[in-house]
């Protein structure tokens, strides 16, 4: 800072204060289309096929084991009597959580007019949808007789009964389904202008027919944009409420009960934060791969990754706050049961899971305070992997550690997952990445119309007059 004249210092300071442009290098509006839309629907490179075969194999393993579970019964899982909820619910909570980052990026950041979100919104919304698909799988198979899952829906029936609307499990059904439908709607509405671009670019007749139908005859009329923008903003606002509500409802599954370690008033915001945290880690991981392999470094810039890492750091601090309060309340409540459960987390049979959670979720992400780590691939991948592992184990701690020693010491049991549990977990990861890989090839991974909107020079200059 001391070198150079005061003028250059002031200028360089100013440069530091302003956020960099959303794209690097020179990019025209049409050039954006060429870059993003050209690869859509073309033959993928070899690396894609390698990745796809790996994820598809994992998916098939998962499907086979799900079939085995349904044919035999959920006795093939490791669940036992105090630990009646185990991998199935852990995975459910984990995957629903992954979805939340997508909605945060696409909806909340839109409301905050964070322009950098435009480059990553499409991809993270797609991840939301795929994650929710993975998530809904688990409650469905864990009911044991999935063909009767329609009983969850309130439909007029011969039994003259209705589902129990006071049960958080039913809230879950509504919350997750609403979340899925609204995310799908939001994603599709965002896709329409891009589909129109694709329709008008492609020369292949079959593709053109498909895109024509999907684009609904979008023609970019200003009156259409006028309504479109308003509706898009409103859905974003609603989706913001959904982000808060969905994981809160998931947390209610636990928190309305009397199980020590589950009945915590902080659970709703704590679950929401954790969900966004894990989701952002997944988005960062995916984005690093996508920008490298699809050569999108100019659109998904270092700045994007740095901002996402800052969000991860913020979430990590909030998680630390929640853990701290959980521990403090365990002591402050002077409730022996809560105290016992908390001590189980950190010194009990699954102490390693407790410490793994704390290390991965709170300690390792603190590295992101350092700017070089925020900007290095290895640093952010390390943190993102740690957070993914940590958040999965956090749900493990909440579910298994709390349950395996319930109020009746005679029924205490250690939970051990079986190969079926591991296999289905692997299968869910396989399904998620299979869908991601397919998406990356058949639809534009970047919302071009949203991106065009924020490219330098795309908007008319302000007149400077005051709006009235």
């Amino acid at each position: 800072m001391k070198s150079g004249s005061t003028l250059t210092t002031a200028e360089s300071t100013l440069q530091l204060l302003k956020p960099p442009s959303v794209v690097t290098g020179h990019l025209t509006i049409g050039g954006l289309d060429d870059q993003v839309l050209t690869p859509v629907g073309t033959k993928p490179p070899l690396a894609w096929f390698v990745a796809f075969s790996v994820t598809l194999s994992a998916t098939l393993i998962g499907i086979a084991l799900i079939a085995y579970t349904i044919a035999t019964g959920i006795g093939v899982w490791g669940n036992n009597v105090p630990v009646a909820w185990a991998f199935d619910i852990i995975n459910f909570v984990f995957w629903v959580g992954i979805g939340h980052a997508g909605t945060l990026i696409s909806a909340i950041l839109l409301l905050f007019r964070a322009r950098w979100r435009n480059a990553i919104s499409r991809f993270s919304e797609a991840m939301t949808i795929f994650a929710v698909i993975c998530a809904t799988l688990f409650p469905l198979i864990h009911v044991g007789r999935p063909w009767l899952a329609f009983w969850l829906a309130p439909y007029p029936n011969q039994r003259a009964i209705w589902p129990n609307f006071r049960s958080p499990l039913l809230w879950d059904v509504f919350a997750v389904n609403t979340y899925f439908l609204v995310s799908l709607l939001f994603w599709y509405i965002g896709l329409i202008p891009d589909l129109a671009s694709l329709r008008d670019r492609t020369t292949n007749r079959v593709k053109k027919a498909v895109y024509t139908v999907l684009a609904l005859g979008w023609r970019g009329a200003s009156l259409h944009w006028h309504h479109y923008e308003r509706a898009y903003l409103i859905i974003a606002g609603l989706a913001t409420g959904l982000v808060l509500s969905v994981h809160s409802v998931v947390s209610f599954d636990f928190a309305v009960s009397l199980v020590p370690g589950w009945h915590m008033t902080i659970f709703p915001p704590y679950f929401v934060t954790g969900a966004i945290f894990a989701g952002f880690a997944m988005v960062v991981m995916a984005m690093v791969v996508v920008r490298k392999t699809m050569r999108l470094e100019n659109l998904i810039t270092d700045y994007h990754l740095e901002v996402m890492n800052k969000v991860i750091l913020t979430c990590s601090c909030l998680m630390g706050y929640a853990y701290l309060l959980e521990g403090f309340t365990a002591w402050y409540s002077m409730n022996p049961y809560i105290h016992h459960t908390f001590m189980q987390y950190i010194t009990g049979s699954y102490w390693w899971a407790g410490w793994l959670t704390i290390t991965c979720n709170v300690l390792i992400p603190q590295l992101l305070w350092l700017r070089p780590i925020r900007r290095s691939y290895s640093g952010m991948i390390l943190v993102a992997v740690a957070v993914t592992v940590g958040m999965w184990f956090e749900r493990f701690v909440i579910i298994v550690s709390s349950l395996h020693q319930d109020f009746l010491p005679s029924s205490w049991q250690i939970y051990k997952p079986t190969f079926v549990d591991y296999g289905i977990l692997l299968g869910s990861f396989g399904l998620f990445f299979t869908l991601v890989l397919l998406f990356a090839r058949v639809l534009p991974v970047i919302a071009t119309s949203e991106m065009k909107m924020v490219l330098p020079g795309s908007q008319p200059a302000h007149k400077g007059g005051r709006h009235e």
Partner: protein, 378 residues
């Protein structure tokens, strides 16, 4: 030029700025509706073209409120009225527990109103036959150009003048777009009507199914629990040698809490003394036992007149008659335990206290049947 009508004259501009600069000038010189086509929303363009405030917000608010109220109403009705069941000790109308689903349904209604309302109602999409879709300008627009269309909308327009004007104010190229053939099945109206019809059918189907199933219980409800491999009471079984599914108690055993009753004769029972005081609790207990066990035959008032009498020609005793009112407590108690004439023993249904309480309640009925003036409270 073909014989088709002209839909619009479209000028292509290089940038949003050029487009916005041209609009006021062209508007001044041409008296025809203008529409712009852009690859992305351009700030301020809607104001320049004079689009009114979008009604999406109002639609969403109304539908959101409808969603909230219908969800809450539905939850209250199903959990509090149609299928009232206490769960977790919560009141029937526990609004707290209904808030999460109410919220989700609100968001669902509101979001789909915004999305589908915008697409179907306001923008009239899907629309596959719009003239612009056939034009050579649209591929430019969906990429990076900006189009300004002077629309004919049925009226005659001066194509040459407009072409000149557009070029004068910066249009790089000008295209004349013609009306297409009339829209067939895939018109926006068709989609809208189909969707509305599906919605109405769904709602109607719900109501019809609900009432049909309520009024005509023809389908065997939920058979999974009935059709279990298990032994039902009173049913035969080949497992035991006597062929009966039920077992007799081991001889000489007594049920817990039961007191052996050894009096064989009603006359001898007259000496028994009712051990219960006539308190309100006892009388209530007696009434409960009487209503549940005795009233079917002896009648709510104890006069032996019920529908059963007519249906089966049975003659249950008139418990409020003088002869029975004159019997001591013990003899009444004996009848409950041992039965009389056609009446079977009720010792299995009623415990010791309940029998005595029933006797007390009988006295109440007898007194009521022969009430005097001074019994009426002033």
């Amino acid at each position: 030029m073909s014989d088709r009508k002209i839909f619009s004259v479209v000028g292509i501009f290089d940038s949003a700025q050029h487009l916005m600069n041209a609009i006021p000038d062209i508007r001044k010189r041409v008296n025809a509706p203008l529409e712009a086509y852009t690859p992305y929303p351009v700030e301020g363009l809607d104001k320049l073209l004079g689009h009114r405030k979008s009604p999406v917000g109002g639609m969403v608010l109304v539908m959101g409120i409808i969603g909230a109220l219908s969800a809450l109403g539905f939850e209250l009705w199903t959990s509090g009225r149609d299928y009232p069941q206490v769960t977790a000790g919560k009141p029937l109308f526990s609004w707290e527990a209904f808030v999460p689903i109410m919220f989700e349904v609100t968001v669902l209604f509101a979001a789909f109103t915004a999305g589908l309302g915008m697409l179907l109602l306001l923008n009239r999409l899907p629309m596959f036959r719009h003239p612009m879709l056939r034009s050579s300008s649209l591929p430019l627009v969906t990429r990076d150009r900006f189009a300004l269309a002077v629309e004919a909308r049925g009226a005659e327009i001066d194509v040459e003048k407009i072409t000149r004007l557009l070029q004068e104010f910066g249009a790089k190229s000008v295209e004349v777009v013609e009306e297409p053939a009339p829209a067939g099945v895939a018109s926006p109206k068709f989609f809208l009507r189909t969707l509305t019809a599906i919605g109405i059918v769904c709602i109607l189907a719900g109501f019809i199914t609900y009432w049909t199933m309520k009024l005509f219980p023809i389908v065997k409800p939920m058979v999974h629990m009935l059709d279990q491999p298990r032994l039902n009471p009173q049913s035969p079984s080949r497992y035991f040698s006597d062929g009966s599914g039920m077992r007799m108690p081991v001889s000489g055993t007594v049920a817990r809490g039961s007191v052996p009753y050894t009096i064989r004769n009603q006359e001898l029972a007259g000496d028994l003394v009712n051990p219960l005081y006539r308190t309100e609790t006892v009388l209530r207990q007696g009434r409960q036992a009487y209503m549940n066990n005795c009233s079917v035959c002896h009648g709510v008032l104890g006069d032996g007149k019920t529908s059963l009498t007519k249906a089966y020609g049975a003659k249950p005793a008139n418990l409020v008659s003088q002869s029975i009112a004159g019997l001591p407590d013990g003899k009444l108690y004996h009848v409950i335990v041992a039965g009389k004439n056609a009446m079977a023993s009720y010792s299995a249904e009623l415990g010791e206290d309940e029998r005595w309480a029933t006797v007390h309640y009988l006295r109440v009925l007898q007194r009521a049947a022969n009430a005097r003036d001074e019994d009426i409270p002033k």
